[in-house]
Each structure stands twice: as structure tokens, then as C-alpha cells.
Symmetry: C2
Subunit: 196 residues, 2 copies
């Protein structure tokens, strides 16, 4: 569905035809390179893969975060949309857990993406902002619902939870001894209201 067009994404098809084509080519190339080399792949690699110059890549995507957003926007949106859906299928706490699992899976399967979501990384501020804009409302909704039913403590901030879960996913894809899903599950378990 059409969201309020902004930031980086597909707005009204504007500009020259070749420019539009290059934009697509770049997104495709980036997606491919991200899979093999992670989201930290050198800009030159992406440009080479797309067969364009460096100037072109920077014109279309002023910062790398814009490129990453372009590539993963759909998946982030899908994750956001899944929140309300899950909420409709079971208890709020269960839904929250499942939604977090979805988020963790998304991050863990994208090499380096979690590491890049840190807000102290000025280069990726746009990415951080996009994730938050999209997912924070959903997380808040789930959290509130679970708090209302009394399944979890009511004093948890969605932002903190998202940051925490995001952090837990860092480096998970390259460490067989570490299971980010498990840790995220523990964190969510920690949200439960302390039993009397």
C-alpha cells in the first residue's frame, strides 16, 4: 500500500529513463553483493557488480544506509505488517515472542545488518531511523497488549527492547556457538511479570 512517500524508496517514477534503470540495477547488484559479502561490502564492489561508476551510486544513494534501506525496505515492511496479524492469532505475549523471532530471523540472515543498526553509527542514521519509524509502533502495540493482559511487566520501553534485540543479533551469523534467537527468547522471557 502507498505509504507517505519520503526518505528513500520508490517515489513517483521521476527523472530520466536511464537514471531509473540504473537505480534498479544498483538495487539488484547491492542485494546480490549483500548476500555474499554482507552489508559492509565496499561501495566499489557494488558499483562494479552493477557496471556503473562510483559517482552514479552516490548520486542515487547519498549514503549507504539509503542503499540498504532500498534493498530491505520490503522485508522491514513485511515484518511491521506481521505484528498486528500475529496479535490477532493468539495471546499478546505469544504474539510478541513470535514477532521478535521474525525480527531476529530477519537481522540474523543479513550479514552485518544488525551491527549497522547501532545509533552511534552516524553513517547509518537513516537506516536506524527507518527501522525505528517502521517497527517501533508495532512493537509498542504488542508490548501494550501484553501489558494489558498482565502477561508482562508494564514498564518496558519498546525502543529499548528493539535496541536490545537488535544488539543481540550482532555477529550471530558467524558464530556457531552463539544463538541470537535463544538469547532474544531469554530477553523476552525476562519481560514476564515477576511471579509472586
Amino acid at each position: 500500500m502507498g505509504d507517505s512517500g519520503e526518505s528513500a524508496g520508490r517515489a513517483a517514477p521521476s527523472g530520466r529513463k536511464d537514471a531509473r534503470r540504473n537505480r534498479e540495477t544498483l538495487l539488484d547488484a547491492a542485494a546480490t553483493v549483500f548476500v555474499t559479502s554482507g552489508v559492509d561490502a565496499p561501495v566499489r564492489d557494488i558499483a562494479a557488480k552493477a557496471g556503473v561508476g562510483l559517482g552514479t551510486i552516490y548520486r542515487h544513494f547519498p549514503t549507504r544506509a539509503d542503499l540498504v534501506i532500498g534493498v530491505y525496505r520490503h522485508q522491514v515492511d513485511a515484518c511491521a505488517d506481521a505484528g498486528p496479524a500475529l496479535l490477532a492469532t493468539g495471546s499478546p505475549y505469544t504474539a510478541l515472542g513470535q514477532w521478535i523471532d521474525l525480527f531476529v530471523d530477519f537481522l540474523v540472515t543479513k550479514h552485518g545488518l544488525a551491527a549497522v543498526m547501532r545509533p552511534d553509527n552516524a553513517d547509518f542514521e537513516a537506516l536506524h531511523t527507518y527501522f525505528l519509524d517502521r517497527l517501533l509502533p508495532v512493537c509498542t502495540e504488542l508490548l501494550d497488549a501484553a501489558a494489558v493482559t498482565g502477561e508482562i511487566r508494564p514498564d518496558i520501553d519498546a525502543y529499548e527492547l528493539m535496541r536490545g534485540v537488535g544488539n543481540l543479533c550482532i555477529g550471530a551469523e558467524s558464530d556457531t556457538r552463539y544463538d541470537a534467537r535463544r538469547m532474544a527468547g531469554l530477553l523476552v522471557a525476562g519481560l514476564r511479570r515477576p511471579h509472586a
Copy 2:
């Protein structure tokens, strides 16, 4: 490369006098720079602060991880030593929680240190290894003790917990909306044995 003797830190005073002095100077300078610019500060900054050339810094500390270890070794050791002490003062679960708090405080107050503990960062493998060597046995001890008393689930791996807590601390020092300590507390709370 194979350093003489220990990985990094103070070994038996060996070599020339000026070399030993430079080593200390370098550690002092690094400590100062780390506080103001984080552990990712450019090597050149540290060299400049210490008033030595680049060659000198790389000779004394083949990798940056060695320098970081040299600077924080004492504090890591102190944290390790605190484990058994805490265990003697209260219930294992309480001790575990307090020990984790200690660890979190340590990481959070050192700009960028947590981010550098990731094992997927080849440059800092030595640092990662040092932390693990020193802290993993302590964490295991606390975990086991708390499992024996039945306060927590018995299926938690110390390595995973340390990685998880370490990750939770990433970027915490520059984000006022995020409290790593709180998140670590949640994670520890999640360890509790599920109530029947």
C-alpha cells in the same frame, strides 16, 4: 606475530630501558585517548599523544587488541576475581546478577569496547580470547551454582550468556534512551526457571 612471552601485558621486565619506558608511555597515552575518543581511536592519535612514531606502537603492540588488553587487563582481572567473592556473599542467582552488572558497567564505561568484543572481528581476536579466557570460567561457576540451587534453568551456556550481555552493551554509552544494564537485567531475569 608471536610476541615474546605473554600475549600482551606486563611480562618480566625485559629488553632495553627506553623500550620499557615507551611501553608504559604508550599504555598511558592509549588509556587517555580511549577515554576521550573510544577504543577505536586512530592509531596515529595514540602515537601522537605518546610522542612516538607509528613503528614504535606497532612493535610493542602488534595488533590494537594487544593495546586494549594492556590498558584494561587489570579491570578484567578484577571483574573475574569479583565472581567468587560475590558467590560467597549471597544466593548464587543474586551473585550472578551482581556479577553481570559489574561486567556491564565495565563495558559501558569504555567507549566502543563492547563493539570490539565481537568474535567476527578478526582484528580483535586476541581481545576476545582474553576476555573469554578470563571471564568464562567465572561465569560458568556462577551459572552452575545458580543451576544447582534451582534458581535458574540448567541449560544455559556461559559463552552464550557472555556474548549476549556483551552485545547488549554495544553503543550504550552514546544512547541516552537505551539502558544496557536494564536489558542485561532482563536477560538474567529470563534465566529463571520457568514457574510451574
